[in-house]
Symmetry: C2
Subunit: 189 residues, 2 copies
């Protein structure tokens, strides 16, 4: 079930470095593309950065609407994630081509990818210099939610392998997130 994530906890959805799908809408046009280069920038209010190449339809829609969503795909969406990262939205309706369903967001006009496991709804901040020079977008997270099978009470808990996050490398290769590791603070005594 999709449940709200408090804004102060939204960074946790992205902190461990999963690949994302960027969804966007401007007028009647929507697009969805893969972005590995999405990162938290601040805790509360939560902010993120994401790199969106200037050749993409997503870029055009994000620049027009000043909004987008970051959707976090589970392992079972590996093929679709590769697909929406390989094909241009100018050539194909990627939602139907890759079997992705759009669902309404809470606070923005862009649709969310229903098959994902976490969602960050974002509005651009006015950092147009780095947008133009580096394709780097700075945004505030205005709503966040997650599938409570894998994220609840402010923490990820991966059980079902098919719902683990994906971490993109290159050339169609990902790593799946693995086991938890707890760091211990030493006591100098």
């Amino acid at each position: 079930m999709r449940v709200d994530v408090p804004l102060a906890k939204a960074y946790l959805l992205l902190n461990h470095g999963p690949v994302t799908l960027v969804s966007s809408r401007a007028g009647l046009r929507t697009d969805v593309m893969a972005a590995a280069w999405a990162t938290p920038l601040d805790f509360d209010p939560p902010k993120v950065t994401v790199v969106i190449d200037r050749s993409t339809l997503t870029r055009e829609l994000v620049e027009a609407s000043r909004e987008f969503a970051l959707n976090i795909p589970p392992r079972r969406l590996a093929d679709a994630t590769l697909g929406v990262g390989s094909v241009s939205g100018r050539q194909s309706d990627k939602w139907s081509e890759f079997g992705l369903a759009a669902m309404p967001a809470s606070r923005i006009g862009a649709p969310l990818v229903a098959e994902c496991i976490a969602w960050l709804e974002c509005r651009l901040l006015d950092e147009q210099a780095v947008e133009q020079r580096h394709d780097l977008f700075v945004a505030e997270v205005v709503a966040a939610s997650a599938d409570d099978r894998v994220f609840s009470g402010g923490r990820w808990h991966f059980g079902d392998d098919a719902l683990r996050t994906l971490h993109y490398v290159a050339g169609g290769q990902f790593f799946c997130v693995g086991e938890p590791v707890v760091g211990h603070r030493h006591d100098k005594g």
Copy 2:
């Protein structure tokens, strides 16, 4: 053994979202801190972004020298990664406190963390507006190298669990990188 990584492949060291240690030097002072918010920004020449809080000694040294290294710690450095992320370099020589050895970089003055498994040597680009507003640093990678037990021929190959990358969540909790997942491109026929 530490081997050079071609600059066009340097993004691969960071693409799957591992936590990093930021090492820096200005004059006789050096520091090392943890940063989960480090991300590729471009392929060739490779660029990265990293968030460095304004309260840290690292921030002072990076602003003075305009250089830093991103070091990627393996799982066996989980405690030290947590440690250098929890203690200020103004209070402690974190290298000795957490048992980390400094080794010389190839192209920058900042030392590298010898116990890490990959290294990106970085020089800041002139993006002082986002540095000041968002603690966000944009840098070019001027040299890269990796431990060939886990990265060679342009790919990660994790065998020994102790050498897997760490992906930070919060509160001392990481995930270890897991198994490879291959995405398949479908053929529309």
